[in-house]
């Protein structure tokens, strides 16, 4: 049966209680913010709950907000309940000084590569991940390219004249 976002909000608040730091309905998805150190238990609860059954992890990714001090990185999880045909978005914020969070690979094996990709792009490390290393970039790369302070272009290229491309 299909739940509406408002019903889902009340059910999720009843289930998780004080663990939800912030919740809002954005366009058509309920989005809740949780603390980073409790993420594993919260996602396990959502997965195992008999009524809700968020048994499918759709996507996992990172975002970099350089202006928010102490909350620079966000890890965003989208889970999907097929029983109720509804999605839920969870966000956990991490500080720049210690961007690490628990891995959910034991709950959802498909999170393995998604977490590696987030590590590759942002440098967010996942505790208890079976094999945390770079996946899309070369292993010898020494910076995390999707952080906002790095340019899109390769800094060492010498053949393109930035004046002709509108970049100064």
């Amino acid at each position: 049966m299909v739940l509406s976002n408002e019903d889902l909000q009340s059910q999720v608040e009843a289930l998780l209680g004080a663990n939800i730091l912030h919740s809002e309905i954005n366009f058509d998805i309920l989005s809740i913010e949780v603390a980073a150190d409790k993420i594993h238990s919260i996602i396990a609860q959502l997965q195992k709950d008999e009524k809700l059954r968020f048994e499918f992890l759709t996507i996992l990714g990172g975002v970099h907000y350089p202006e928010q001090i102490n909350r620079e990185f966000a890890v965003v999880y989208h889970v999907h309940s097929w029983k109720h045909k509804i999605r839920l978005r969870l966000k956990a914020f991490l500080p720049l000084s210690n961007p690490s969070i628990d891995s959910i690979t034991d709950l959802y094996p498909c999170a393995n590569w998604m977490e590696r990709e987030t590590y590759d792009f942002y440098g967010i490390s996942f505790n208890n991940h079976p094999d945390l290393r770079r996946i899309l970039n070369e292993d010898s790369m020494d910076y995390f390219p999707l952080r906002k302070e790095y340019a899109l272009e390769d800094a060492t290229r010498e053949d393109k004249d930035d004046r002709f491309f509108g970049r100064f």
Partner: protein
Amino acid sequence: MSKEKEKVSNSATEFYNSKETIDGDIATINFGPTHPATHGIFQNILKVDGEKIISSEQTVGYIHRAFEKLAERRPYNQITPITDRLNYCSSPINNLGWHMTVEKLIQAEIPKRVDYMRVIIMELARIADHLICDSVVGVDTGALTSFFYPFQEREKIYELYEEICGARLTTNIGRIGGFERDFTPAFHTKLKSFLKTFPKAFSEWDSMLARNRIFMDRTRGTGPISPERALAYGFTGPNLRAAGVDYDVRVMHPYSSYEDFDFIIPVGVNGDTYDRFMVRQEEIRQSIRIIEQAYGNLPEGNYKADVPDFYLPDKADVYNNMEALIYHFKIVMGEMEIPSGEIYHSVEGGNGELGYYLISDGGRTPYRLQFRRPCFIYYQAYPEMITGQTISDAVITLSSMNVIAGELDA
């Protein structure tokens, strides 16, 4: 009428699994990155005992082109060419999925005619994608003829795309809010002749492989995956449906008026290569069915939505009307007014659920755009699917999974 899942076995796998001990040394074989049978650049380092695979280790990222970082630099209408290059065998689906994401963000009202036109294009793209995948499965089992016949049909689909957008493969089709122009008379002629001639050509090719004894012996029992493992690995699309789970984004969260059409979702039994092949063949037939319904009931109306902030005005208006001139300037320079917010939208791509997670902060370019790429997520299961099989089975399993390198690495 009960459907029992009969355990289909592969005689080669049975033979190898029956040998208790490892004979001799374990050899390490490099399957890729440049290999004729991996259609794309992936590397798998296989440890084999004779012909039987014991373990494998994957390396991806050989065409990492940094789409997600590139998208943060480009205005919304310039991101469409990047989405083309994700699953380049069915680029219209990627393009139209992106347009739908932006339309969700700006909350545009899309006319019904645009929806039906989009459905026709997306189903044509799905047919094109499945034709490539299945012809390649045939080639890898040794039937090279199975490559030439479907590619002729793909040329007809390319001609249909050219009527709309001018390009064959990486189409950059449509605009935010609809299409550039209505279907031309030439498009109507070509589509009608396609709908008449394709089913016959398709069944001629299909009959070569579908009940072919050699093909069935080669593909039944290779690369199996159970539904539970498939769900755990985040499978979507034909690979998941071959394992027995009928999840389709078009049915679960209908978009672009898919709820108006009547089609079935084909589901396999064993999750092996033969089932993946057959599910895709059946999906081609269902796509033809959808196109016939959409084309037969194409509603009258406008081919574009009323979103002057995002949709380029007519050239005649630009030269005569001040407002149109200003809109044209703003759209071309990429200075559109986008509301801020976060959207997740997904469409049923050729390989499964293709999702777009867009964070907009009100600026001219996205703050963050993440693509949920189905190939990237289900390719993780490949080592599990080939363990215990022979190397030639690993080759067919890889081609039947339809891993497109552009979508894998983004």
